[in-house]
Amino acid sequence: MNWLTNLYRGLRSLFRKQRIDRELDEELAAFAEASAADKERAGMPADAARRAARIEMGSAAAVKQMVWASRWESVPDNVLKDLRFAVRQLWRSPGFSVIAVLSLTLGIGANTAIFTLLNAIMLRPLPVQNPAELLLLGDGSSQGSTLAVPEGRTALFSRPFFHEFREKDTSFSGVAAVDSTQFGTKASIAGAPYQTIHVNLVSGSYFSVLGVPAFLGRTIEESDDATEGAGPVAVASYSWFQRHFNGDPSALGKIIRIQSHDYTLVGVAKPGFDGFKVGQATDLYIPLSMEKAFDRPGYNTLDNNLFQSLYLIGRLKPGVTAAQAGAETNLLFKQIVRSLLGPQPSQKQLGDLAHASVELTPAGRGVSDLRRAFSVPLEILMAIVALVLLIACANIANMLLARGVARTREVAMRMALGASRSRIVLQLLTESALLAVLGAAAGVALAWKASAMLLNLATPGPEPVPLNLTPDLRVLAFTLGVTVLTALLFGTLPAFTAAGLEFTPALKDGRGSSSVSARGVMARSLIVGQVALSVLLMVVAGLFVRSLIHLYDVDTGFDPHNVLVFTLDSSTANLPKGADEIRSVRLQQQIEDSVKAIPGVKSSSFAFVAFNDGGWSDQVLFLGVPRTPTNGRQVSFNITGDGFFSTMGIPLVDGRTFNSEDQPTSPKVAIINQAMARRFFPNSSPIGHRFGFGDDPSKAGEIEVVGVVKDTKYYALSEGTQMEAYFPCIQAPGFYGNFVVRYAPGANRQEIVSRVRSAIAEKNPNILVNSVTTMQQEVGRSVATQLVIAQLSSFFGMLAVFLACIGIYGLLSYSVARRTSELGIRAALGAQSHTLRWLILRECILLLVLGLAIGVPVALSSTRILKSLLFELSPLDPAAVSIAIVGVTVMTLIAAWLPARRAAKIDTSRALRAE
């Protein structure tokens, strides 16, 4: 109870400070009087006794301060007082405060923004039950599907494997399967018009293993997934449910029509859970048992023992370690796959399987393509913004040091009045903390907007990447930590310097001369550090910009100008399948023909892939050409209309392009690129030679090469030379979703777009146009990440230089002001103005040279970590390094020029009177 009484009394005395103060005064007076009376009794004269008593007691104010300090309530009281004082101080020098808060806003804001992204992409666990218990079979690095016998590290699994595995394994309390590709399709809810929806197929165990309960209704259960077609049901994600039904519970039971199948909405998943893939929000979960109802090229084969397209997620049983689970999984994996290969697997299949393994990886954070793409860039950006904040801190520390000199008298006065050194330090740190908190508050507001903006810039596309960027506890803790650290970084040195001062000489002399030189050394070291860091950041920025320029200079192999790319969705058009699929190709040809008739259109073609939207690849084997390491690599395939090469502007090098000779029943033909021709036929023409897919010599004669075209980029600008083969749509029937249109330079693009839209609608109104872009946009989009990194690093590099320049300007201005009389005397003694200017510039050049001497070697030894992000550029690129050096030098000299000019134009008589 004692501390409670203490607390109560403390609070009471906080609210009755005046009374407490009066009582203390009275007690002290009584003390002094009693002491004096005592001395008088001992024979001292009354006057002397009173004086002696006062001397013995010392300063009444100091005693009162000590009594007050012995009680806990003095701490909050002091903090409040310090805060009030700090606000007054900052208010009194608005210029300093604004610059300090602004640079902190940028610094802390940038750090928070990048960390918010880093957290959302790399750190945040899925909102599932005990995420640490979840393990993924494989590392989640591949997605899609494969029919190949597993060799090497395996990440995708077939449904028969899933069923066998969950039967036999003993390490996991449950195993869930989820389709590795979430796909977009069109859905009509209760008869409303079709709209885009993102569907993910999941096993009946998915929600129970992840531990995601239903918010409304029920989740998908085992019975929905028990037999083929058993579960025409759908579970919505909470955010989709909110968007489309405004949280109306009567949505349950509504019918959702997708690709001519009806699903009943049976439930809504827990809020915050957007699926297993971070950065790909799922709208609807549908049981794997409904897989056949979806029209996806190459699918419909989940019963196939080797059709591997699923991620498997296991929840560890209590007490089982990940290593034990890994050992058991690998054992079972080989057994089960061996049994799935059938009674007589080939020697090669067994050989492949012998090399296959499954690595268990933590699945608590889900899997994410963003994570793979952005981990390194985000880490580097994090380092960049941390350095910028460090430079901002150095700047503010420098300004505080200068202010400390101006406030020498104030500090000395307060110490004379009984303030302890620690009180002074605390008060000065309070000012720093106030600055940091103001900067952080504005910074967090900035970061909120900036992180979403950055994400959109880095991942441009028709839809924003769904990523939860609301600050969570981790982000708030990070910002708080950064803020405290920042305040300590820039506040400690100046505070200790200010408080550690010998105050007697300072009281006498307004300008404080002796201590200034030590302070000057500190200020100068800070400047040198700033210059060094800004050189480092400028080198980094230069490297990224030069790498981006290299990327822009890459020859795509096609002509991206004047080409439109339409992406089409035929899932609601109910196009014929199987033997009738050729009608889709005829439909495409009709669309191509009517588009060709539009004025301004030069040519058009459907294609399986345009540029930068995934692809399809395999090995091929030519009849009569032995397998070599180079020709054994993957060949990227495309399926195109006849006009593809003229539309894309890909030059034909040899043979012919596709034409009306090529028919469904005529011999199968292909056009290959120069790289493929060179690797298979280094010394002769490939025209007329035949090849087949895969490694099977019996199939090697299936397809004849009729033409050779120039190499093009397929997935990305940064890829190396790829082997490519093109097949005509007519011999690989299907409806292909990319439609490219070349128009004449100067044609009205908007007009063409709307006329193409109506041409498509005219042929089949159920084919929906998902998006229209230009090929140039597509090419730009493929380097969006590099562009954002280059822009951000340039921005931060220039910010760093700018901050360093403010620092140099401040230091030199201060130095000119302090040396006014010296400069005046020099001028009076006949120094020329250029001599005076040189006096100040010399100081700047010395700092600059020191900064460069530190910064350049540091930059050269650390840019190696950027190597993976640089395209055909050495991390020691001399151009980038020289640009950085020149840039920093020029900026620094400009910053020094103004104070130097002031020194040169000094007014002798005024300077001499100033002292």
């Binding site: 004692n2 203490n6 009582e23 003390f31 009693a34 009376a37 009594v67 012995s70 009680r71």
Partner: protein
Amino acid sequence: MQGTLEMLILKTLALEPMHGYGVALRIEQVSSGVFRINPGSLLPALSRMERAGHVKSEWRATENNRRARYYLLTARGRKALSAETAQWDRQTAAIRRILEA
């Protein structure tokens, strides 16, 4: 020595309630002038002890009829005194043994 001052104050107040100067004077007299305690240490110590509940204070009239703050020992303070005295005895005995060894 840390806490010694508080022990001396407790011991002094154990005789009778006193005001601040009385405590200082008493300690000085009894120690024959060895310990002179100035208000800068005495008053913060008394303030701490009051918060710890070892003493309480009230305003009373002095012998020359002025108002002064008198400090009284509480039951908890008495307990603290005997505990600290016992501790002190142990320590001094130990030190003495070391010095005489």
